[in-house]
Amino acid sequence: MTDLSQPAAAAQSQAVPDGIPLPLWLLAELTYRCPLHCAFCYNPIDYTDHSRELSTEQWLNVLREARALGAAQLGFSGGEPLVRDDLEVLVAEARKLGFYTNLITSGVGLTDKRLDGLQAAGLDHIQLSFQDSTQQLNDFLSSTRTFELKQRVAASIKQHGFPMVLNCVLHRYNLPHVDKIIDMALAMGAEYLELANTQYYGWAHQNEAQLMPTREQLDEAEAVVERYRRTHGERCKIFFVVPDYFERRPKRCMNGWGAVFLGVAPDGAALPCHAARSLPGLVLPNVKDTPLREIWYESDAFNRFRGLAWMKEPCRSCDEKEHDLGGCRCQAYMLTGDPANADPVCDKSPSHDTVVKVVNVARRAAAADLPHEQPILFRNDANSRRLASAAASGGTSGEISGHGNGNGHTGG
Protein backbone atom coordinates (compact mmCIF):
# COMPACT_ATOMS: atom_id res chain seq x y z
CA MET A 1 0.00 0.00 0.00
CA THR A 2 1.23 3.49 -0.72
CA ASP A 3 2.21 5.66 2.17
CA LEU A 4 -1.04 7.16 3.35
CA SER A 5 0.62 9.49 5.80
CA GLN A 6 2.08 11.45 2.89
CA PRO A 7 0.32 14.81 2.57
CA ALA A 8 -1.05 16.09 -0.70
CA ALA A 9 2.33 17.63 -1.47
CA ALA A 10 1.27 19.67 -4.48
CA ALA A 11 1.37 16.66 -6.78
CA GLN A 12 -1.09 18.43 -9.03
CA SER A 13 1.45 20.93 -10.20
CA GLN A 14 -0.31 22.07 -13.36
CA ALA A 15 -3.55 23.95 -13.09
CA VAL A 16 -6.69 22.00 -13.96
CA PRO A 17 -9.14 23.91 -16.14
CA ASP A 18 -12.25 24.92 -14.26
CA GLY A 19 -15.24 22.65 -14.40
CA ILE A 20 -13.61 19.76 -16.24
CA PRO A 21 -13.52 16.65 -14.10
CA LEU A 22 -10.56 14.25 -13.92
CA PRO A 23 -10.26 11.21 -16.19
CA LEU A 24 -10.54 8.78 -13.30
CA TRP A 25 -11.07 5.67 -15.43
CA LEU A 26 -8.52 4.70 -18.06
CA LEU A 27 -9.35 1.83 -20.39
CA ALA A 28 -6.33 0.48 -22.24
CA GLU A 29 -7.54 -1.56 -25.20
CA LEU A 30 -4.21 -3.22 -25.81
CA THR A 31 -5.14 -5.09 -28.97
CA TYR A 32 -8.04 -5.95 -31.27
CA ARG A 33 -6.63 -9.47 -31.66
CA CYS A 34 -8.90 -11.97 -29.94
CA PRO A 35 -9.21 -15.75 -29.91
CA LEU A 36 -12.99 -15.38 -29.51
CA HIS A 37 -15.40 -14.21 -32.18
CA CYS A 38 -18.37 -13.06 -30.13
CA ALA A 39 -21.45 -11.98 -31.98
CA PHE A 40 -22.12 -9.17 -29.46
CA CYS A 41 -18.64 -7.63 -29.31
CA TYR A 42 -18.71 -3.83 -29.08
CA ASN A 43 -15.39 -3.45 -30.93
CA PRO A 44 -15.66 -1.50 -34.19
CA ILE A 45 -16.67 -3.72 -37.08
CA ASP A 46 -13.78 -2.30 -39.14
CA TYR A 47 -11.21 -3.10 -36.43
CA THR A 48 -8.92 -4.68 -39.03
CA ASP A 49 -8.34 -1.15 -40.38
CA HIS A 50 -6.86 -0.08 -37.01
CA SER A 51 -4.72 -3.06 -36.12
CA ARG A 52 -1.29 -1.38 -35.82
CA GLU A 53 -0.66 -1.55 -32.08
CA LEU A 54 1.19 0.80 -29.75
CA SER A 55 4.58 -0.43 -28.54
CA THR A 56 5.33 -1.30 -24.94
CA GLU A 57 7.11 2.02 -24.45
CA GLN A 58 4.17 3.94 -25.90
CA TRP A 59 1.76 2.18 -23.55
CA LEU A 60 4.04 2.89 -20.58
CA ASN A 61 3.91 6.58 -21.51
CA VAL A 62 0.12 6.47 -21.71
CA LEU A 63 0.00 4.97 -18.20
CA ARG A 64 2.33 7.62 -16.77
CA GLU A 65 0.52 10.51 -18.42
CA ALA A 66 -2.92 9.24 -17.37
CA ARG A 67 -1.84 8.70 -13.79
CA ALA A 68 -0.44 12.23 -13.68
CA LEU A 69 -3.88 13.47 -14.78
CA GLY A 70 -5.48 11.67 -11.83
CA ALA A 71 -6.61 8.37 -13.40
CA ALA A 72 -6.93 5.76 -10.66
CA GLN A 73 -8.83 2.84 -12.18
CA LEU A 74 -7.18 1.09 -15.08
CA GLY A 75 -8.73 -1.62 -17.23
CA PHE A 76 -6.58 -3.74 -19.52
CA SER A 77 -8.90 -4.89 -22.25
CA GLY A 78 -9.07 -5.49 -25.97
CA GLY A 79 -9.61 -7.78 -27.89
CA GLU A 80 -7.87 -10.19 -25.59
CA PRO A 81 -5.16 -8.38 -23.61
CA LEU A 82 -3.35 -11.65 -22.88
CA VAL A 83 -2.20 -11.91 -26.49
CA ARG A 84 0.22 -9.07 -25.65
CA ASP A 85 3.29 -10.69 -24.09
CA ASP A 86 4.19 -7.37 -22.40
CA LEU A 87 1.03 -7.38 -20.28
CA GLU A 88 3.00 -8.22 -17.11
CA VAL A 89 5.37 -5.29 -17.76
CA LEU A 90 2.44 -2.91 -18.18
CA VAL A 91 0.67 -4.19 -15.06
CA ALA A 92 3.83 -3.84 -12.99
CA GLU A 93 4.35 -0.23 -14.05
CA ALA A 94 0.67 0.57 -13.56
CA ARG A 95 0.70 -0.85 -10.05
CA LYS A 96 3.89 1.06 -9.24
CA LEU A 97 2.21 4.25 -10.41
CA GLY A 98 -0.69 3.60 -8.01
CA PHE A 99 -3.39 2.41 -10.39
CA TYR A 100 -5.96 -0.16 -9.34
CA THR A 101 -5.40 -2.66 -12.12
CA ASN A 102 -8.21 -4.70 -13.69
CA LEU A 103 -7.66 -7.39 -16.29
CA ILE A 104 -10.71 -7.85 -18.52
CA THR A 105 -10.26 -11.19 -20.23
CA SER A 106 -11.84 -14.12 -22.00
CA GLY A 107 -9.50 -16.33 -19.98
CA VAL A 108 -7.95 -17.79 -23.12
CA GLY A 109 -4.20 -17.81 -22.52
CA LEU A 110 -4.49 -17.27 -18.77
CA THR A 111 -2.18 -20.10 -17.74
CA ASP A 112 -0.92 -20.62 -14.19
CA LYS A 113 2.42 -19.26 -15.32
CA ARG A 114 0.85 -16.02 -16.50
CA LEU A 115 -1.29 -15.81 -13.37
CA ASP A 116 1.93 -16.10 -11.32
CA GLY A 117 3.53 -13.36 -13.40
CA LEU A 118 0.53 -11.07 -13.15
CA GLN A 119 0.29 -11.63 -9.44
CA ALA A 120 3.97 -10.79 -9.01
CA ALA A 121 3.39 -7.66 -11.09
CA GLY A 122 0.69 -6.61 -8.63
CA LEU A 123 -2.51 -7.17 -10.62
CA ASP A 124 -5.49 -6.30 -8.41
CA HIS A 125 -8.48 -7.97 -10.05
CA ILE A 126 -9.62 -10.17 -12.91
CA GLN A 127 -12.89 -9.93 -14.81
CA LEU A 128 -13.57 -13.17 -16.66
CA SER A 129 -16.18 -13.37 -19.39
CA PHE A 130 -18.54 -16.24 -20.01
CA GLN A 131 -21.09 -16.42 -22.78
CA ASP A 132 -23.46 -18.82 -21.07
CA SER A 133 -23.82 -21.47 -18.38
CA THR A 134 -23.79 -24.22 -20.99
CA GLN A 135 -20.93 -25.40 -23.13
CA GLN A 136 -23.12 -25.55 -26.20
CA LEU A 137 -24.24 -21.94 -26.12
CA ASN A 138 -20.97 -20.53 -24.76
CA ASP A 139 -19.06 -22.12 -27.59
CA PHE A 140 -21.63 -21.23 -30.23
CA LEU A 141 -21.83 -17.54 -29.29
CA SER A 142 -18.07 -17.11 -29.15
CA SER A 143 -17.57 -19.31 -32.18
CA THR A 144 -14.92 -21.27 -30.26
CA ARG A 145 -14.56 -24.29 -27.98
CA THR A 146 -13.66 -22.49 -24.77
CA PHE A 147 -16.23 -23.36 -22.12
CA GLU A 148 -14.22 -25.97 -20.24
CA LEU A 149 -11.08 -23.91 -20.50
CA LYS A 150 -12.89 -20.95 -18.91
CA GLN A 151 -14.03 -23.15 -16.04
CA ARG A 152 -10.47 -24.25 -15.36
CA VAL A 153 -9.26 -20.66 -15.56
CA ALA A 154 -11.91 -19.50 -13.08
CA ALA A 155 -10.66 -22.10 -10.58
CA SER A 156 -7.04 -20.99 -11.07
CA ILE A 157 -7.96 -17.33 -10.58
CA LYS A 158 -9.55 -18.16 -7.25
CA GLN A 159 -6.62 -20.40 -6.24
CA HIS A 160 -4.36 -17.41 -6.77
CA GLY A 161 -6.60 -15.39 -4.48
CA PHE A 162 -7.63 -12.69 -6.96
CA PRO A 163 -10.98 -11.01 -6.54
CA MET A 164 -13.02 -12.16 -9.52
CA VAL A 165 -15.87 -10.61 -11.45
CA LEU A 166 -17.70 -12.91 -13.81
CA ASN A 167 -19.20 -11.11 -16.75
CA CYS A 168 -21.87 -12.52 -18.97
CA VAL A 169 -23.44 -10.57 -21.81
CA LEU A 170 -27.16 -11.29 -22.01
CA HIS A 171 -29.46 -11.50 -25.02
CA ARG A 172 -32.36 -13.52 -26.39
CA TYR A 173 -30.46 -16.82 -26.33
CA ASN A 174 -29.15 -16.91 -22.78
CA LEU A 175 -31.65 -14.78 -20.83
CA PRO A 176 -33.69 -17.92 -20.03
CA HIS A 177 -30.55 -19.37 -18.36
CA VAL A 178 -29.96 -16.54 -15.92
CA ASP A 179 -30.56 -18.78 -12.89
CA LYS A 180 -27.97 -21.28 -14.10
CA ILE A 181 -25.50 -18.50 -14.88
CA ILE A 182 -25.86 -17.19 -11.32
CA ASP A 183 -25.44 -20.72 -9.92
CA MET A 184 -22.28 -21.05 -11.96
CA ALA A 185 -20.90 -17.77 -10.61
CA LEU A 186 -21.66 -18.84 -7.04
CA ALA A 187 -20.03 -22.24 -7.56
CA MET A 188 -16.93 -20.53 -8.91
CA GLY A 189 -16.65 -18.20 -5.93
CA ALA A 190 -16.98 -14.96 -7.91
CA GLU A 191 -17.29 -11.90 -5.67
CA TYR A 192 -19.25 -10.04 -8.33
CA LEU A 193 -21.41 -11.10 -11.25
CA GLU A 194 -22.07 -8.64 -14.01
CA LEU A 195 -25.10 -9.58 -16.08
CA ALA A 196 -24.77 -7.08 -18.86
CA ASN A 197 -27.59 -6.98 -21.34
CA THR A 198 -26.20 -6.46 -24.80
CA GLN A 199 -25.60 -2.87 -25.82
CA TYR A 200 -26.12 -2.59 -29.52
CA TYR A 201 -22.85 -1.17 -30.83
CA GLY A 202 -20.29 -2.60 -33.22
CA TRP A 203 -20.83 -6.29 -33.88
CA ALA A 204 -23.83 -6.42 -31.58
CA HIS A 205 -25.54 -3.79 -33.70
CA GLN A 206 -24.91 -5.91 -36.78
CA ASN A 207 -26.59 -8.82 -35.00
CA GLU A 208 -29.32 -6.79 -33.31
CA ALA A 209 -32.21 -8.62 -35.00
CA GLN A 210 -30.96 -11.95 -33.69
CA LEU A 211 -29.89 -10.86 -30.21
CA MET A 212 -32.72 -8.55 -29.11
CA PRO A 213 -34.76 -10.18 -26.34
CA THR A 214 -38.43 -9.74 -25.56
CA ARG A 215 -39.79 -7.68 -22.69
CA GLU A 216 -41.12 -10.90 -21.10
CA GLN A 217 -37.68 -12.51 -21.14
CA LEU A 218 -36.19 -9.47 -19.45
CA ASP A 219 -38.86 -9.27 -16.78
CA GLU A 220 -38.43 -12.95 -15.94
CA ALA A 221 -34.65 -12.64 -15.78
CA GLU A 222 -34.86 -9.59 -13.56
CA ALA A 223 -37.21 -11.40 -11.18
CA VAL A 224 -34.71 -14.28 -10.96
CA VAL A 225 -31.89 -11.82 -10.23
CA GLU A 226 -33.96 -10.21 -7.47
CA ARG A 227 -34.60 -13.61 -5.90
CA TYR A 228 -30.89 -14.48 -5.86
CA ARG A 229 -29.97 -11.06 -4.49
CA ARG A 230 -32.20 -11.75 -1.50
CA THR A 231 -30.79 -15.21 -0.86
CA HIS A 232 -27.14 -14.88 -1.92
CA GLY A 233 -26.46 -11.12 -2.01
CA GLU A 234 -23.92 -11.39 0.79
CA ARG A 235 -21.75 -13.87 -1.09
CA CYS A 236 -21.87 -12.39 -4.55
CA LYS A 237 -22.93 -8.95 -5.64
CA ILE A 238 -25.05 -9.21 -8.78
CA PHE A 239 -25.26 -6.34 -11.24
CA PHE A 240 -28.00 -6.41 -13.84
CA VAL A 241 -27.40 -3.86 -16.57
CA VAL A 242 -30.79 -3.08 -18.08
CA PRO A 243 -30.95 -2.88 -21.87
CA ASP A 244 -31.91 0.68 -22.63
CA TYR A 245 -34.00 -0.13 -25.71
CA PHE A 246 -36.74 -1.13 -23.30
CA GLU A 247 -36.64 2.11 -21.32
CA ARG A 248 -38.35 5.46 -21.82
CA ARG A 249 -35.46 7.55 -20.61
CA PRO A 250 -31.87 7.16 -21.85
CA LYS A 251 -28.94 5.99 -19.78
CA ARG A 252 -26.48 8.53 -18.40
CA CYS A 253 -23.96 7.30 -20.91
CA MET A 254 -20.32 7.16 -19.71
CA ASN A 255 -21.50 9.33 -16.81
CA GLY A 256 -20.98 12.19 -19.25
CA TRP A 257 -18.79 12.74 -22.29
CA GLY A 258 -15.23 13.59 -21.29
CA ALA A 259 -16.27 13.37 -17.64
CA VAL A 260 -14.72 10.18 -16.22
CA PHE A 261 -13.76 7.82 -19.02
CA LEU A 262 -10.69 7.93 -21.21
CA GLY A 263 -10.20 5.00 -23.56
CA VAL A 264 -7.13 4.35 -25.64
CA ALA A 265 -7.57 2.05 -28.64
CA PRO A 266 -4.88 -0.42 -29.76
CA ASP A 267 -3.55 2.04 -32.36
CA GLY A 268 -3.39 4.93 -29.88
CA ALA A 269 -6.65 6.68 -30.78
CA ALA A 270 -8.10 8.34 -27.68
CA LEU A 271 -11.78 7.51 -27.14
CA PRO A 272 -14.32 9.55 -25.15
CA CYS A 273 -16.48 6.40 -25.17
CA HIS A 274 -16.02 2.78 -26.24
CA ALA A 275 -17.91 3.28 -29.48
CA ALA A 276 -16.66 6.78 -30.39
CA ARG A 277 -14.87 5.37 -33.41
CA SER A 278 -18.23 4.98 -35.12
CA LEU A 279 -19.06 8.71 -35.02
CA PRO A 280 -18.53 10.52 -38.33
CA GLY A 281 -16.59 13.76 -38.37
CA LEU A 282 -15.09 13.19 -34.95
CA VAL A 283 -11.31 13.33 -35.35
CA LEU A 284 -9.93 11.18 -32.57
CA PRO A 285 -6.64 12.51 -31.24
CA ASN A 286 -3.81 9.97 -31.00
CA VAL A 287 -1.55 9.43 -27.99
CA LYS A 288 1.37 8.87 -30.36
CA ASP A 289 1.53 12.56 -31.27
CA THR A 290 -0.54 14.42 -28.67
CA PRO A 291 0.02 14.63 -24.91
CA LEU A 292 -2.83 13.08 -22.93
CA ARG A 293 -3.36 16.32 -21.00
CA GLU A 294 -4.02 18.18 -24.24
CA ILE A 295 -6.28 15.36 -25.46
CA TRP A 296 -8.41 15.38 -22.32
CA TYR A 297 -8.70 19.13 -21.76
CA GLU A 298 -8.31 20.73 -25.16
CA SER A 299 -9.15 18.37 -28.02
CA ASP A 300 -12.29 18.91 -30.06
CA ALA A 301 -13.19 15.23 -29.70
CA PHE A 302 -13.30 15.34 -25.90
CA ASN A 303 -15.04 18.73 -25.78
CA ARG A 304 -17.62 18.10 -28.50
CA PHE A 305 -20.35 16.71 -26.22
CA ARG A 306 -18.95 17.76 -22.86
CA GLY A 307 -21.40 19.46 -20.54
CA LEU A 308 -24.79 20.58 -21.83
CA ALA A 309 -24.11 23.38 -24.33
CA TRP A 310 -24.09 21.10 -27.41
CA MET A 311 -27.66 19.94 -26.88
CA LYS A 312 -30.53 20.47 -29.30
CA GLU A 313 -34.22 20.24 -28.60
CA PRO A 314 -35.90 18.39 -26.97
CA CYS A 315 -32.87 18.03 -24.64
CA ARG A 316 -31.96 21.71 -24.40
CA SER A 317 -35.13 22.77 -22.59
CA CYS A 318 -35.68 19.43 -20.82
CA ASP A 319 -35.71 19.51 -17.02
CA GLU A 320 -34.10 16.05 -16.93
CA LYS A 321 -31.08 16.97 -19.03
CA GLU A 322 -28.69 17.14 -16.08
CA HIS A 323 -29.83 13.72 -14.98
CA ASP A 324 -29.32 11.71 -18.18
CA LEU A 325 -27.14 14.19 -20.14
CA GLY A 326 -29.12 13.41 -23.30
CA GLY A 327 -28.14 9.73 -23.30
CA CYS A 328 -25.72 8.08 -25.68
CA ARG A 329 -24.17 10.00 -28.59
CA CYS A 330 -23.32 6.85 -30.55
CA GLN A 331 -26.86 5.53 -30.26
CA ALA A 332 -28.24 8.92 -31.31
CA TYR A 333 -26.06 8.74 -34.39
CA MET A 334 -26.84 5.10 -35.21
CA LEU A 335 -30.58 5.57 -34.96
CA THR A 336 -31.14 9.20 -36.03
CA GLY A 337 -28.08 10.01 -38.15
CA ASP A 338 -27.02 12.93 -35.92
CA PRO A 339 -24.93 12.37 -32.78
CA ALA A 340 -26.15 15.68 -31.30
CA ASN A 341 -29.77 14.55 -31.28
CA ALA A 342 -31.49 13.21 -28.20
CA ASP A 343 -30.85 9.52 -27.66
CA PRO A 344 -33.99 8.01 -29.24
CA VAL A 345 -34.41 5.68 -26.27
CA CYS A 346 -36.05 8.77 -24.74
CA ASP A 347 -39.74 8.89 -25.52
CA LYS A 348 -39.46 12.68 -25.88
CA SER A 349 -37.27 12.10 -28.94
CA PRO A 350 -39.10 12.45 -32.26
CA SER A 351 -37.20 9.31 -33.34
CA HIS A 352 -38.30 7.17 -30.41
CA ASP A 353 -40.35 5.01 -32.79
CA THR A 354 -37.11 3.62 -34.30
CA VAL A 355 -36.35 2.01 -30.93
CA VAL A 356 -39.90 0.79 -30.47
CA LYS A 357 -39.79 -0.75 -33.93
CA VAL A 358 -36.62 -2.74 -33.17
CA VAL A 359 -38.16 -4.08 -29.98
CA ASN A 360 -41.42 -4.96 -31.71
CA VAL A 361 -39.67 -6.82 -34.51
CA ALA A 362 -37.99 -8.99 -31.88
CA ARG A 363 -41.29 -9.58 -30.09
CA ARG A 364 -43.09 -10.64 -33.25
CA ALA A 365 -40.22 -12.89 -34.29
CA ALA A 366 -40.26 -14.59 -30.89
CA ALA A 367 -44.03 -14.96 -30.87
CA ALA A 368 -44.14 -16.54 -34.30
CA ASP A 369 -40.92 -18.45 -33.69
CA LEU A 370 -39.80 -17.22 -37.09
CA PRO A 371 -36.61 -18.47 -38.58
CA HIS A 372 -34.03 -15.68 -38.60
CA GLU A 373 -33.72 -13.81 -41.84
CA GLN A 374 -29.98 -13.63 -41.65
CA PRO A 375 -27.22 -15.65 -40.03
CA ILE A 376 -25.37 -14.36 -36.98
CA LEU A 377 -22.31 -12.43 -38.05
CA PHE A 378 -19.33 -13.47 -35.93
CA ARG A 379 -16.56 -11.02 -35.12
CA ASN A 380 -13.55 -12.18 -37.10
CA ASP A 381 -10.96 -10.69 -39.39
CA ALA A 382 -12.59 -11.84 -42.63
CA ASN A 383 -15.98 -10.35 -41.69
CA SER A 384 -14.32 -7.16 -40.46
CA ARG A 385 -12.45 -6.65 -43.74
CA ARG A 386 -15.59 -7.28 -45.75
CA LEU A 387 -17.67 -4.83 -43.68
CA ALA A 388 -14.93 -2.20 -43.73
CA SER A 389 -14.56 -2.36 -47.49
CA ALA A 390 -18.32 -2.31 -47.97
CA ALA A 391 -18.51 0.83 -45.84
CA ALA A 392 -15.59 2.43 -47.70
CA SER A 393 -17.21 1.85 -51.08
CA GLY A 394 -20.41 3.41 -49.81
CA GLY A 395 -22.47 0.29 -50.36
CA THR A 396 -23.65 -2.48 -48.12
CA SER A 397 -23.52 -6.10 -49.07
CA GLY A 398 -26.69 -8.16 -49.00
CA GLU A 399 -25.48 -10.03 -45.96
CA ILE A 400 -25.17 -7.03 -43.73
CA SER A 401 -28.15 -4.94 -44.72
CA GLY A 402 -31.57 -5.41 -43.29
CA HIS A 403 -31.44 -3.30 -40.17
CA GLY A 404 -33.82 -0.94 -41.80
CA ASN A 405 -32.90 2.41 -40.31
CA GLY A 406 -30.94 3.50 -43.36
CA ASN A 407 -28.49 5.55 -41.41
CA GLY A 408 -25.26 3.87 -42.44
CA HIS A 409 -24.28 2.63 -39.03
CA THR A 410 -21.03 1.05 -40.13
CA GLY A 411 -17.88 2.56 -38.67
CA GLY A 412 -14.97 4.48 -40.14
Binding site: L4, S5, A8, L22, A72, Y100, N102, P163
Partner: protein, 96 residues
Protein backbone atom coordinates in the same frame (compact mmCIF):
# COMPACT_ATOMS: atom_id res chain seq x y z
CA UNK B 1 2.80 5.12 8.98
CA UNK B 2 4.93 5.97 11.96
CA UNK B 3 2.12 6.30 14.50
CA UNK B 4 2.34 2.54 15.04
CA UNK B 5 5.25 3.13 17.38
CA UNK B 6 2.91 4.89 19.79
CA UNK B 7 2.75 3.22 23.19
CA UNK B 8 -0.44 1.52 24.28
CA UNK B 9 -1.54 0.11 20.91
CA UNK B 10 -3.62 -3.04 21.07
CA UNK B 11 -1.99 -6.35 20.36
CA UNK B 12 -3.29 -7.49 16.96
CA UNK B 13 -6.30 -9.74 17.57
CA UNK B 14 -9.48 -10.73 15.83
CA UNK B 15 -11.00 -7.50 17.14
CA UNK B 16 -8.52 -5.39 15.23
CA UNK B 17 -10.07 -3.48 12.36
CA UNK B 18 -8.75 -4.30 8.91
CA UNK B 19 -9.72 -3.14 5.42
CA UNK B 20 -11.28 -6.00 3.46
CA UNK B 21 -8.93 -7.49 0.92
CA UNK B 22 -11.44 -6.66 -1.81
CA UNK B 23 -10.62 -2.99 -1.23
CA UNK B 24 -7.50 -0.88 -1.37
CA UNK B 25 -7.24 2.37 0.54
CA UNK B 26 -5.09 4.99 -1.08
CA UNK B 27 -4.33 8.69 -0.91
CA UNK B 28 -5.08 10.39 -4.26
CA UNK B 29 -3.26 13.70 -4.64
CA UNK B 30 -5.31 14.65 -7.71
CA UNK B 31 -8.54 14.35 -5.70
CA UNK B 32 -7.00 15.61 -2.48
CA UNK B 33 -8.72 12.72 -0.71
CA UNK B 34 -8.41 9.14 0.40
CA UNK B 35 -10.21 6.70 -1.89
CA UNK B 36 -11.24 3.07 -1.61
CA UNK B 37 -10.50 1.18 -4.79
CA UNK B 38 -12.18 -2.11 -5.68
CA UNK B 39 -12.88 -4.07 -8.86
CA UNK B 40 -13.83 -1.45 -11.45
CA UNK B 41 -14.93 1.06 -8.83
CA UNK B 42 -13.83 3.75 -6.44
CA UNK B 43 -15.27 5.52 -3.41
CA UNK B 44 -13.99 8.99 -2.60
CA UNK B 45 -13.81 9.44 1.15
CA UNK B 46 -14.30 12.60 3.14
CA UNK B 47 -11.64 13.58 5.60
CA UNK B 48 -13.11 11.86 8.67
CA UNK B 49 -13.74 8.63 6.78
CA UNK B 50 -10.19 8.72 5.46
CA UNK B 51 -8.70 9.33 8.90
CA UNK B 52 -10.68 6.43 10.37
CA UNK B 53 -10.05 3.94 7.58
CA UNK B 54 -6.34 4.61 7.34
CA UNK B 55 -6.13 3.47 10.96
CA UNK B 56 -7.95 0.20 10.15
CA UNK B 57 -4.68 -1.52 9.40
CA UNK B 58 -5.00 -4.59 11.56
CA UNK B 59 -3.22 -3.12 14.59
CA UNK B 60 -6.06 -1.43 16.51
CA UNK B 61 -9.39 -2.46 17.95
CA UNK B 62 -12.21 0.09 17.98
CA UNK B 63 -11.32 1.53 21.39
CA UNK B 64 -7.68 2.02 20.51
CA UNK B 65 -8.68 3.55 17.20
CA UNK B 66 -10.94 6.09 18.90
CA UNK B 67 -8.27 6.97 21.46
CA UNK B 68 -5.75 7.33 18.68
CA UNK B 69 -8.00 9.71 16.71
CA UNK B 70 -8.83 11.78 19.79
CA UNK B 71 -5.14 12.18 20.49
CA UNK B 72 -4.29 12.99 16.88
CA UNK B 73 -6.95 15.70 16.67
CA UNK B 74 -6.56 16.80 20.28
CA UNK B 75 -10.23 16.29 21.12
CA UNK B 76 -12.62 13.99 22.99
CA UNK B 77 -16.07 12.48 22.46
CA UNK B 78 -15.44 11.04 19.00
CA UNK B 79 -16.66 7.59 20.07
CA UNK B 80 -20.28 7.63 18.83
CA UNK B 81 -19.41 9.09 15.44
CA UNK B 82 -16.54 6.66 14.87
CA UNK B 83 -18.58 3.64 15.96
CA UNK B 84 -21.43 4.63 13.64
CA UNK B 85 -19.04 5.02 10.73
CA UNK B 86 -17.30 1.71 11.42
CA UNK B 87 -20.66 -0.08 11.58
CA UNK B 88 -21.61 1.48 8.24
CA UNK B 89 -18.23 0.54 6.72
CA UNK B 90 -18.72 -3.03 7.93
CA UNK B 91 -22.17 -3.23 6.37
CA UNK B 92 -20.70 -2.03 3.08
CA UNK B 93 -18.08 -4.76 3.21
CA UNK B 94 -15.17 -2.32 3.49
CA UNK B 95 -13.84 -4.00 6.62
CA UNK B 96 -12.96 -7.67 7.18
Amino acid sequence: MNDLTRAGGATPTADCLTISKLFRLQWEPAQNAHVLLYPEGMVKLNQSAGEILKRCDGTRDINTLIADLEQAFNTTGLGPEVRAFVADAQSRGWLE
